[in-house]
Each structure stands twice: as C-alpha cells, then as structure tokens.
C-alpha cells in the first residue's frame, strides 16, 4: 500500500521534480494543502465566456510574433 511519502514522491515526479529531498517534499505537501484551500475559494459560477487567459492573437500582416 502506498504511504503518504510515496504519494508525494509520485506527485513530485508528475510535475518533473525528481530531486526533492524529505524537507522539500514536506514543502510540497504544504503546497498541495494550500492549493486545495485556494481552489476552494474560487467562485463556482465562472464561465468560459469570461475567458481572458489563453487568447491567441495573430499579429498584423508582416508582424513576426503571434
């Protein structure tokens, strides 16, 4: 059966963090708890029509950057 440490190590590996020691994993544990609390504070009625984050814009003709 997986221990809490195993789960933390697996979580760290999932996000590419393979070199975390025990103290770092303790910090990751706090991060997971804090992320859950923060996520719970987000309003539940946010709608995709309010999207602003991933708006892709093409530059005008001749522009070099998207």
């Amino acid at each position: 059966m997986a221990t809490n440490d195993d789960i933390l190590l697996q979580t760290a590996a999932t996000v590419g963090l393979m070199r975390l020691n025990a103290a770092h994993l303790e910090q990751l544990k706090r991060a997971l708890e804090s992320a859950r609390e923060l996520g719970d504070k987000l309003p539940k009625d946010l709608h995709y029509s309010e999207e602003i984050a991933v708006t892709f814009r093409l530059s005008p003709a001749g522009g070099s950057k998207p």
Binding site: A12, S34, L38, P43, A53
Partner: protein, 467 residues
C-alpha cells in the same frame, strides 16, 4: 552646504544643469555614504563604482559642452537586481543566478541611460522577487533605516532602503503583488505601480508575466513623475506593453484637488481585514484632509479584498512555477526556503484553477472599473500594519498578506503608495492612491496636494539623517 544625501531629483537637476553641482561630486558623495552605511542596511547586492564614476565624468563633460539631456542627466539611480544592465551581474538575490552576468540592457535601463542617469548598482530584493525576508541566501536581506532592525517590505527592499537612507534619489523596482508599494510604505518613500503595459518589462526577470510591472521609487512625488516620464513608452518586444500616448506626468502637479471626486475604499482596511489602528486612522485622516482641500470624498465598495488575493495568489504561483520548474527540478537546494516554498506552491495548482483565476481577474477588473466610473481616483490603505522586526520571522510572515495592493495588480490600474505619517514608535504609515488606467498624472496631482499639505516626505530616519 547642500545635503547631497537627501537631495531630490528636481533640486539636483537644477544644480547640475547650472553647473553648481558636479555629477562626479554627487556620485562620489553617495558612494562614500553608501560605503559608510550599507554594512548595516544591505540595500545593495553590488555597487558599480567604476561604471558610475565613468558615467558621471561623461555627464559632466556633456553638460559643460552644452548637451544637457534633461532632469535625469547626472542623477544617481539604482536597479532592483532582477533588472538587467549589460556587463553587470543580475542575481535576483539568488544562488541560482549568482554567476549570471547580463548581456543586454533591460528596456528601462536603456531608457535611463538615454536620459543620462547614472547606475550606482544593483539593489537587494526578495529571492526572485517572491520569497523574503530570507537569511539563507548568499546576501543578507535589506534592513529598514526606520526602527532599530526592521523589515523594509519587499520585494523591492533595497530600493526602499537606499532611498530612505539617502544613498540614492531614484530607484527602479518591480510590482507583481505590491512589491514597489510595500517597501515604499514600510520605508516612508513614494512608489508608483504604473498602469499595466505603461513601462516595458523586457530584460526584467519575470515573477508572473501577466501581473508584473516596473515602477519608479523616489522620495517625493515630483521626482517620481520625472522618473516615470523617462521610463514610459511602448516597446514591441514586451508583449504586455501598450501602444498608448505618454502624457506629461507632472503637468498638473500643482493644480490641487479642489472639485475632484475621490472614492474611499474603507472596507478593505476596516471590514475585510482590520488594519492596525494607527494605520486606519492615517487613511481616515488623509480622507479628511483631502476633503478639507476641496475634494469630494465618498465611500465606495469593491469586491472583498480576499477575492483579489485568491486571484493574485493562484496566478503568481502558476506563472512563477512555469518560469522556475526546470531549475527547481535540477537544483532545488539552490533556492532559499521561502522562495522554494512559494514556487513549489505553483506545482500543486491545477491548470483549471489557473484558468478560473484568469476568468476571475476579468470579472474583478470589469466590476472595479465600473465602480470607478464617475470618480477621478480612489484611496485606501497600502499596508495594513506598520513594519515589524526583521528577525521576527512569524511577524514578517503575518505582515505579508495583510495589504490592499494586490487588487490593482489584478486590474492593472495605476496605484501609488505615499507616506501618510508615523506611528507613536516613529515607524512609517502610508496611503495608497488608485487611478483609472493610463491616468498616473491624476494620482501625481492628488499625491502632490497631500504631500504639500502634510510634509511627510521631508521626514528622515533619525539614525542615518546625520551620517
């Protein structure tokens, strides 16, 4: 003899232009002063005396030859050490970048150089502008000249300290969740977070792309307007930079506030969080004073402070983790404890929550700007408490989230912190002014009226004012 330590940009520029003050003399005096004081206050990560003296000699020659470039010509300045200057280390106050030497100037560094300003050195920050104060980094944290051994705020800590201690008349900080306005508030100086997109971030190490701002820090309001004038303008190489006209920021500085309509966001510091009584009273007194000067001040309600804080925290965590994750994967021990915690925090937030936070940002911005309709500007607290001892880790940790600055990183509105008095223990109190997008000039006008009426920007930390 002129007190060069606390000479402001405006007065120094007059003396330099009329050749009553040599930039070499000015730079030498401030380097000497910094040499005497900085072993105690740690404002600088690194001084650049050779560069500074060479630039000062050049400025002196240019001005003698009739080529005065404007009010920043010959003025000593400092950069928060996440802002690049070609040939000079940018460490971000971190072991991770301890050996990093910038190869190009940041856009703002280029602008300062073009205006003739003189770089004196790179200033202390919280590690990568995110975690501090920390005692496990290659350099100690900056210490506030106000109080015995106090926290100067952050993350533009060195900027606040250098200005308050009379080591510099001007510095550039950055503000992602309040990091220009926090040290301005704690150190009794003036800090402006301009409108998002007003000042280029090219060449500035990012904390969170969608919330980062570069901002001018000075002792007085007029100096701040002059510094922003040099920094503002479109940069096609910063995707967040806006192609909007740049007005004369100091044009209306002395017009006063008579007839202006100001909103007072009292619930931020009286309901959402309870400010320290002396800080709350300072804001209430500022509102009264502005009324007395002829402004119409009425209470307004924005979303609760906690909504803005949730939004900001999620965005900063995710964007910072995206920036740092490869270094964090390869060399986690090279980060200090606090920065590592705050960056790791982003590893745990889901993509869906990040996108929801951006949606919330849009909603909060729309509603905030609707409430600002019909107003010229608003005022509220910046910090909710005076500063605390820097070696009291718990007190510093408690202090950090108790602030009303993040809302305006979310909305991108211009917001500035100015001195608003002192506690009975002689620690700085502050006031925050918030404007409509692109209306920094209005904030300078209100701030100047308040400054003129109160004189708080004239006060100096007792321990360093006679050095």
């Amino acid at each position: 003899m002129t007190d060069l330590a606390y000479l402001g940009i405006v007065d120094a520029a007059d003396l330099i232009r009329s050749r009553k003050l040599s930039p070499v003399e000015y730079v030498t005096a401030l380097l000497d002063r910094t040499g005497r004081l900085d072993s105690r206050y740690h404002a600088f990560i690194g001084l650049t005396p050779d560069l500074a003296l060479a630039a000062a000699r050049q400025a002196e020659q240019d001005i003698a030859g009739g080529n005065w470039r404007g009010p920043l010509h010959g003025i000593p300045t400092g950069l928060k050490d996440i802002i690049d200057c070609a040939g000079v280390p940018t460490t971000a106050h971190s072991k991770v970048l301890a050996q990093n030497v910038a190869t190009k100037d940041a856009a703002v560094t280029q602008r300062l150089k073009s205006a003739g300003a003189i770089l004196m050195g790179k200033l202390a920050t919280h590690e990568f502008a995110i975690g501090g104060p920390s005692f496990d980094l290659p350099w100690p944290p900056a210490v506030n000249p106000w109080g015995g051994n106090h926290f100067p705020g952050g993350s533009s800590s060195g900027c606040g300290v250098a200005l308050a201690a009379g080591m510099l008349p001007a510095a550039l900080g950055t503000d992602t969740g309040g990091s220009v306005r926090n040290p301005a508030s704690m150190c009794g100086i003036t800090g402006m977070k301009p409108t998002y997109g007003r000042v280029s971030r090219r060449g500035v190490f990012p904390l969170a792309y969608s919330l980062d701002h570069v901002g001018p820090m000075t002792r007085t309001v007029r100096d701040n307007a002059l510094l922003l004038q040099a920094l503002a303008g479109h940069d096609p190489d910063d995707p967040g930079s806006a192609d909007v006209p740049v007005p004369q920021f100091a044009a209306d500085l002395e017009r006063g506030v008579k007839g202006l309509k100001l909103g007072l966001v009292r619930h931020f510091y009286a309901e959402d969080m309870q400010a320290h009584p002396e800080q709350a009273q300072a804001i209430d007194r500022a509102a009264e004073l502005l009324r007395g000067l002829g402004a119409e001040v009425r209470e307004i309600r924005l979303a609760p402070l906690q909504d803005y804080a949730t939004c900001t925290r999620i965005i900063i965590r995710c964007e910072a983790f995206a920036i740092h994750r490869r270094w964090l994967a390869e060399r986690p021990d090279d980060y200090g404890h606090l920065a590592r915690q705050r960056i790791l925090d982003g590893a745990a937030v889901s993509a869906a929550d990040y996108i929801d936070a951006q949606r919330l940002r849009g909603r909060l911005t729309r509603r905030t700007l609707e409430t600002f309709a019909g107003l010229d500007a608003a005022l509220t607290a910046s910090s909710l408490d005076p500063t605390c001892r820097i070696d009291d880790t718990d007190a510093c940790a408690r202090l950090y989230p108790r602030q009303a600055r993040q809302p305006f990183n979310v909305t991108g509105q211009p917001a500035m912190a100015i001195p608003a008095g002192f506690t009975k223990d002689d620690l700085p109190l502050s006031l925050q002014l918030i404007g409509h997008p692109w209306q920094e000039a209005m904030l300078y006008r209100i701030a100047r009226a308040y400054e003129r009426a109160t004189g708080w920007t004239e006060r100096r930390p007792p321990d360093v004012s006679t050095c």
